[in-house]
């Protein structure tokens, strides 16, 4: 039986986080619009005579993304009209970039298919365009809301370089992280601000041919991306194995049934009749303008991961996790800078109990409710042995609940650890005096009784005694008795 290889190319449509739309001054924040058709003007509803004007911020964001994806930023780029009729497309054409996109020929490294190393994915282009209106189907009619029409989109297109679904997922995840790092996209998949389109084909291993591909459109989550791609790979292999042929077509993904479905519409053969948009002269970006953005480019996830490994001695997995979100990475560094304890301890806190609290409370790392100074203070309390590790964890929970500073919580609830040796020594001497039978038994060789003695102290102090200190005191006292 022939072994097949997966060939996937990915298109990512990312909405840009601008205040206004791509070609007009209407608010781009359609998600917060109070009602349908309340962020509209003659331009985005295509009233006769209205004309587009390019949003400078969208251009800047596209330049940043292009640079982050190692693309060439084209100083001369153009807009075109992509012509087709659909109720969600008010002008009857979409203004997009066709021949000369703003960014081209970039790359990203993703973990290699098997084992060690990385594989380089070529990014063909990234171009600016506008989003469509939203259509709501209601039986025999449809309702249109133009609030989303004209929202800026950046379409990022790879070459068909992915050989596994996992590689495509790794790439998509990284792109999302980068977009969030640059502050150009919230990454909020549920709101549809990121949409994927996978071009899938398969071929016998060892072959270089590009076989007929299918395009799966409108994939709105990583899960949909991986499931749909994997399904399509299997479907095509089965088709070839049974002597069939893959037909080039556009597919949709039926999440409920877990299958790809053909999207045949009346307009079978698309002929978009692209031509240069005469309402927009070529967009000329001066080299100095482009270069000024290099300085604005923040440290990206990959570089940050490497730095965390180098500077803080974290494990790769932890460094990558902390670096995956700019806000989390910044938080980590802020806490580390303010605590007496080590970066590794901070990392343990963040990747452990702290992350559990964030997840359990369905919070976002973008809006961590606890100031870095508070977490640093808590870690210091544990470091100073003012509280025990277990107590510190419960203080953290309280911090999430009340928002109060850890010191206040510890004081108010009397959670401070008894590390005063005098007090503890008195308790230990009294304990030994009160329990002669257990002492005799311990000294007789039943050393496991040490735990029992320690438990007695813990009970008496309600857990506030430093166990290490108690243990040492007990051992010291028993030693004296032996003599």
């Amino acid at each position: 039986m022939t072994k097949y290889e997966t060939v996937i190319g990915l298109e990512i449509h990312a909405e840009l986080q601008t205040a206004s739309k791509m070609f007009c001054g209407c608010s781009a924040d359609y998600a917060s619009a109070p009602a349908a058709n309340t962020n509209i003007c003659p331009v985005c509803t295509a009233l006769p005579g209205a004309m587009p004007v390019i949003n400078a911020r969208a251009v800047e964001q596209a330049v940043l993304v292009g640079m982050a994806l190692n693309c060439t930023i084209n100083p001369h780029n153009t807009f075109a009209r992509k012509n087709y009729f659909y109720p969600d497309l008010p002008k009857g054409y979409q203004i997009s970039q066709y021949e000369l996109p703003i960014a081209s020929e970039g790359w990203m490294d993703v973990p290699a298919d098997l084992g060690e190393g990385t594989q380089r994915i070529r990014i063909r282009r990234a171009h600016l365009e506008e989003d469509t209106a939203k259509t709501f189907h209601r039986g025999d009619h449809a309702l249109i809301d133009y609030n989303r029409a004209g929202v800026p989109l950046l379409e990022i297109v790879t070459e068909p370089d992915f050989r596994t679904v996992e590689a495509a997922l790794a790439y998509a995840t990284n792109v999302r992280a980068i977009l969030r790092y640059l502050g150009v996209n919230s990454g909020d998949m549920e709101k549809g601000v990121l949409r994927f389109e996978a071009n899938v084909s398969v071929r016998p291993i060892g072959s270089d041919e590009l076989r007929t591909r299918t395009e799966i459109k409108n994939l709105n989550s990583f899960r949909a991306l991986t499931r749909a791609s994997a399904y399509e790979v299997e479907r095509q292999i089965k088709l070839y194995e049974s002597g069939g042929e893959v037909v080039q077509e556009t597919l949709g993904w039926d999440e409920a049934r877990g299958v790809t479905v053909s999207q045949r519409s009346k307009e079978h053969a698309h002929d978009y009749r692209y031509f240069p948009e005469p309402d927009l002269p070529p967009l000329q970006l001066a080299e100095s303008f482009i270069e000024s953005f290099r300085a604005h480019l923040p440290e990206l996830p990959e570089a940050k991961t490497q730095r965390f490994l180098r500077d803080y001695g974290l494990k790769l997995q932890d460094a990558a996790l902390l670096a995956s979100e700019r806000s989390l990475a910044d938080y980590f560094e802020a806490v580390t800078a303010q605590t007496k304890d080590s970066a590794k301890v901070v990392c343990n806190w963040l990747t452990g109990e702290f992350m559990r609290q964030i997840n359990d409370r369905a919070l976002s790392v973008d809006s961590i409710p606890i100031p870095a100074a508070h977490l640093a203070q808590l870690i210091d309390l544990a470091f100073d042995k003012t509280v025990s590790g277990n107590t510190a964890k419960s203080v953290l929970v309280e911090m999430f609940q009340s928002g109060r500073a850890p010191k206040d919580i510890v004081e108010a609830q009397g959670l401070g650890q008894i590390s005063n040796e005098g007090v503890l020594k008195e308790m230990v001497i009294k304990l030994i005096a009160d329990n002669p039978k257990e002492v005799a038994s311990y000294l007789g060789g039943k050393e496991t009784l040490l735990q029992w003695f320690m438990g007695q102290v813990a009970r008496a102090t309600k857990g506030k005694a430093d166990p290490q200190a108690v243990k040492q005191l007990l051992l010291d006292e028993f030693e004296k008795l032996r003599k």
Binding site: P42, T45, A46, L47, P48, G49, A50, M51, P52, V53, I54, R81, N83, F85, P87, P90, K91, G92, Y93, A142, I144, K266, E267, D271, R273, Y274, F275, P278, D279, L280, P281
Partner: protein
């Protein structure tokens, strides 16, 4: 007051010296429209209420002498392809028969700010597609000089209105001669400004890379004054120029002595009506008498101007007119339609006239897969050559002279059967638009009783020179003062 011969400049003086109020002038114009226009049909919509209200406000400005501009209180009409808030805007098409825009074109806002008074909207060839005004979905406009003849197109209503004294100036629009050709047919002065000089925002697009809004009036001074008011950068039009607008009326009166006028030899070949040719030659002699140097120049790609123009126009128009789909505004044929695609098909079939359908379909054809390089791209390449022709000519001369049309106004119905023959009447005026250069149409005589127009073409953003030459000509000729035989 003799309205039929009144110029913008003389009306300006009468308003400022309080010989007449804007309301009186406006009312007189409205009365004249009521009386004269039924035979000409220059207006699709007369906006009496708007006009009188604007006139009242203009009179307040004039009374206090505050914020008075050269256009304050001056009544005008505008081609029905400029979006006017609250005033029906049809493009003389069935598809926009009941469309009342929610916003004003920038030019309309600028005119309102200057205190000008809008009398109404002018008839045109549907969406600007035509050279005779016969392609209006409503009615053909007639030439005031001979009611059996066309006024030219597509700004036929605007030219006829200016010629018949139904407004002291008209705002026309020139995509490939649509201001100049009818100006020549109707004996008025009209400007196609440099592309980008006047904002297109709110102009219902025909061919976005050609469309130029320009004024038409009795004389060069009037046209210069209006151009000054409507030109300038508009942040809503990305193709509008950042160059400052000169004070055009100030440069009038300067001598043209020693300036160089070019005669493009390719324009003076067979096919020109004898009376047109002799009128142009007399005009050239007149310029010589004014001290201008006359040079023959060559624009070698002239014969390709027309196909370049039409190819690019069809392509751009096919996309520009896609928004007329019966969804958000305008005609929508829904009865019996099985789905939204069917609504599109029925709406556009019922809403567009034949010429519009032809151009949209041909535009789509020339852009479609497999034909783009041979047609659209080829045309854009030859366009570069057309431009270079003009650039080289303007290294030798200050302006070029040519007729606005090979013939005078033709009979209504004479050319409607053959679209290609109709296209050929634009042969002298189309090349300027792909090149983007300005061109001023000036009356220069008569042939068998019908007006002949010439055009003066200049360098990009060199309207001043054209006004200067045109004005000098009008100081020594009175063709532009001839009035059509109307009541």
């Amino acid at each position: 007051m003799e309205l039929s011969s009144l110029t913008l400049r003389s009306a300006q003086e009468m308003l400022r010296s309080k010989q007449i109020s804007s309301v009186e002038l406006t009312q007189a114009m409205l009365d004249r429209i009521r009386k004269i226009d039924p035979q000409i049909q220059a207006y699709v919509t007369v906006t009496e209420d708007v006009a009188l209200e604007q006139a009242r406000r203009a009179d307040e400005r004039l009374a206090t002498s505050e914020n008075v501009t050269p256009l304050t209180g001056i009544p005008f009409g505008v081609k029905d392809c400029l979006s006017t808030k609250g005033v029906r805007t049809t493009c003389s098409s069935k598809i926009l028969e009941n469309y009342v825009p929610q916003y004003n074109a920038t030019v309309i806002d600028k005119l309102a700010d200057s205190g000008a008074v809008m009398l109404g909207k002018h008839n045109m060839d549907e969406f600007g597609m035509g050279s005779s005004c016969e392609n209006s979905a409503y009615f053909p406009t007639r030439n005031p000089w001979d009611l059996t003849r066309v006024p030219g197109g597509s700004s036929g209503g605007s030219a006829a209105a200016a010629a018949a004294g139904l407004g002291l100036f008209s705002i026309g629009e020139d995509t490939g001669g649509s201001v100049r050709m009818p100006a020549g047919f109707c004996n008025v002065t009209g400007l196609k400004p440099t592309y980008g000089r006047v904002s297109r925002y709110g102009l219902i697009a025909l061919a976005s890379s050609f469309d130029s809004i320009g004024p038409m009036a009795r004389e060069v001074y009037d046209v210069a004054a209006v151009t000054e008011a409507i030109a300038g950068l508009d942040k809503r039009d990305s193709t509008s120029s950042t160059l400052p607008v000169p004070q055009y009326t100030q440069s009038l009166g300067k001598s043209v002595k020693g300036m160089k006028l070019g005669i493009p030899k390719e324009y003076f070949v067979a096919g020109m009506e004898a009376g047109v040719e002799s009128a142009i030659h007399k005009a050239i002699q007149q310029f010589e008498a004014l001290g201008m140097e006359i040079h023959e120049v060559s624009l070698p790609h002239t014969k390709y101007g027309l196909p370049v123009y039409y190819l690019i126009l069809f392509a751009e128009a096919s996309a520009n007119l896609a928004r007329f789909d019966g969804t958000r505004f305008g005609l929508s044929v829904r009865d019996g339609a099985e789905d939204v695609i069917d609504v599109y098909l029925r709406t556009r079939a019922a809403g567009f006239g034949d010429e519009v359908k032809r151009r949209i379909m041909l535009g789509a054809y020339t852009l479609s897969a497999g034909y783009y390089d041979a047609y659209y791209l080829k045309a854009q390449k030859v366009r570069t050559l057309l431009r270079q022709d003009f650039e080289q000519a303007f290294e030798q001369v200050d302006a070029l002279i040519a007729p606005t049309c090979p013939t005078t106004a033709f009979k209504i119905g004479e050319k409607t059967a053959d679209p290609l023959e109709m296209y050929l009447s634009d042969i002298y005026v189309t090349a300027t638009n792909p090149a983007g250069i300005p061109s001023l149409a000036v009356p220069c005589g008569f042939s068998q009783g019908m007006p002949v127009g010439m055009q003066l073409m200049g360098k990009h953003f060199n309207e001043e020179t054209l006004f200067q030459i045109g004005h000098a000509y009008q100081q020594v000729t009175d063709w532009h003062k001839q009035l059509p035989p109307l009541g």
